[in-house]
Amino acid sequence: MSATVERPVVLNTEGLSKNFGGRVTASGYEGGLWAVRDFDVTVREGELVGLIGPNGAGKTTVFNMISGLISVTSGEVEFYGKKLVGRPAHAITQAGIGRTFQNIRLFPQLSVLDNVRIAYHSRAGYGLRDAIWQGTRFARKERELTERAQELLALFHLQDRQDEIGSNLPYGEQRRLEIARALAGEPKLLLLDEPAAGMNPREVHTLMDMIHFIRDKFKLTIVLIEHQMRVVMGICEWITVMDFGQVIARGTADEISNDPKVIEAYLGRQGRRV
């Protein structure tokens, strides 16, 4: 896996910015809060990139802008060279960007199987007419779709839980289900928003193994948000650190952990108070 051959760029953002509450004037935005300002990142195929920073640094806002859930104030997002800004969220997902949410957002009243099958919807292969008529085409496609969903569930050890209601699962299984659901969209790029939130160190460890596993199995590129530095240090090849909406450092884990700016963002300035 030496980087002698340049791998293709999966995701590239340039000057990505988000302003909340500002007024548009002739000279740009005035007032308001810049949640993210001039965020640049380049992710190459197969990489596992970490995006870290203290609470409120704007990490999730970056994800929301990439996946199209909130509008972009300025800047550009490119995914395999295609511009994404302005496209609706579902089109971005169908283009190959899957994501999970920080506070798990399953479809709470639906079964585990349905949660995954919804994500297969865009490739269901039948439309409203087939659904009403319930012919052989519907039966075949629905079976294919369900079997694929069941295989995916099996990979995450949820196959016995398929008929349970999503919100009744224990926390760890809900996290796994959400990742399974994101993978059902057959993404090329997976955005994981704090997958380790609410987990103890041992669970975090197993989660890291799982992230490595799915990256190799599905040939994914992964961008991961985390605000605990320790978590990211272990698995991410490249780390971007944000604070107050701006990138303050980027590099490998070692470079980051010795960067004075990063230490300041996390621990405060040294010597101010004992």
């Binding site: 919807h121 990979l155 799982m210």
Partner: protein, 388 residues
């Protein structure tokens, strides 16, 4: 999933046999025992009401879009079909002579008729009714497509409810003044002389049709997309669901059935008045689906008949001059249901064929899974002991 070879609209012969049996039971055993007024108010009208309620439940109960405008689409279906049949009703008449069967005296206890006629109908009028119902429904669906797309694009659920309420009011006002354009409707005076063609057969047929179609859509990928919008619109978007498209689809399907119900209503009472299509009445379907449970098809069916027999039936029960007390009982019932059973009368219960099809558990031998098994599902207890 291969229970039997015969399948029509996804249902096996057992289902269709049950449908025929229920129809015959109602047609031969129940209806002859009721007088003209009660068979209309207790049997035929609730069948029609159930169609619009199933449509509304699809929109509000399954897709989560609060719509008070179904009454407007009901009116559109009613008037559109009535205008079609008003002139043509007399022209199409091809009676088909069926057979007359004598009911044996033993059976007459059950079937209170001396003889029953089978396959005795008017092919011309039936065809005309079918065309009229389809015309009314398609018109309602097209208008809902245009309205729904524009409004859903901008408004979320609650605001959408207000916009649709406005739509229902607009439709009523247009109907009051409609005789300026279409003299047949006679505007505020009400439209008389519509051929009375809706029999129990047609009301029942369209109810079964509506039920099966909505059930089939619901338990398909399209239906899952529709439900995902209710569950979590943001997550649905992130899963690649075009939420605007599926909100519109649900709205159009629901409005289509409102149009069907309206067309049947017009030919049941043979009289249409814009007064009946006022927005106060548009809360009736909403009351019914809340009573039956949002997102519960069985509950909607039962609640419609319950509503027709008890609440609307109060017009029969209450002494003369006390009919207005219905509007005191209505809100009290609604309030009690909201407080005591917010999930509806039946909760999550559904009749057999209305339940989601179950898929057998499959043991997939995923060759790469053990790695994750150890990592994620491995038994954590021993490790805990070690670390403690």
């Amino acid at each position: 999933m291969n229970r039997s070879r015969f399948r029509f609209l996804g249902q096996g012969w057992l289902f269709w046999l049950a449908v025929v049996l229920i129809f015959l039971l109602a047609q031969w055993v129940l209806i002859p025992r009721l007088n003209e007024f009660r068979r209309t108010v207790w049997v035929m009208f609730p069948c029609i009401m159930a169609i619009i309620c199933l449509g509304l439940n699809f929109i509000f109960g399954f897709n989560g879009q609060f719509s008070l405008g179904q009454w407007g689409f009901y009116a559109i279906g009613a008037y559109a079909s009535a205008i079609l049949t008003y002139r043509l009703g007399e022209r199409f008449s091809y009676p088909v002579q069926g057979i007359v069967v004598q009911v044996p005296p033993l059976l007459q206890k059950l079937i209170p008729m001396a003889e029953i006629s089978l396959f005795h109908f008017d092919a011309g009028k039936s065809g005309l009714l079918l065309v009229a119902v389809l015309f009314g429904a398609v018109l309602a669906a097209l208008i809902s497509l245009a309205f729904g797309y524009v409004v859903l694009l901008r408004l979320g659920s609650d605001y959408f409810g207000i916009a649709t309420l406005g739509f229902a009011v607009i439709v009523q006002v247009l109907l009051i003044n409609s005789d300026l354009v279409i003299p047949e409707t006679k505007g505020a005076r009400g439209m008389v002389g519509i051929p009375q063609m809706t029999s129990f057969f047609w009301a029942f047929l369209f109810l079964v049709f509506a039920l099966v179609v909505i059930r089939n859509v619901l338990y398909s990928s399209v239906g899952r997309a529709v439900v995902s919008v209710r569950e979590d619109e943001l997550a649905a978007k992130a899963m690649g669901i075009n939420t605007l498209k599926y909100k519109t689809i649900a709205f159009v399907i629901g409005s289509f059935f409102a149009g069907v119900a309206g067309a049947l209503y017009a030919h049941l009472y043979a009289f249409l008045s814009p007064l009946y299509f006022g927005f106060q009445k548009s809360f009736d379907p909403m009351i019914i689906i809340v009573l039956g449970g949002l997102g519960n098809l069985t509950g909607t069916l039962l609640a419609t008949f319950l509503w027709a027999i008890t609440l609307e039936g109060m017009r029969i029960w209450l002494p003369q001059g006390f009919e207005a007390w219905r509007f005191v009982v209505y809100p009290i019932v609604l309030l009690l249901v909201m407080l005591l059973r917010p999930q509806g009368l039946l909760g999550k219960f559904e009749f057999g064929f209305l339940r989601a099809p179950k898929w057998p558990l499959r043991q997939v031998a995923a060759e790469a899974a053990p790695q994750v098994a150890e990592a994620t599902a491995g038994n954590p207890e021993p490790q805990e002991e070690r670390s403690a």
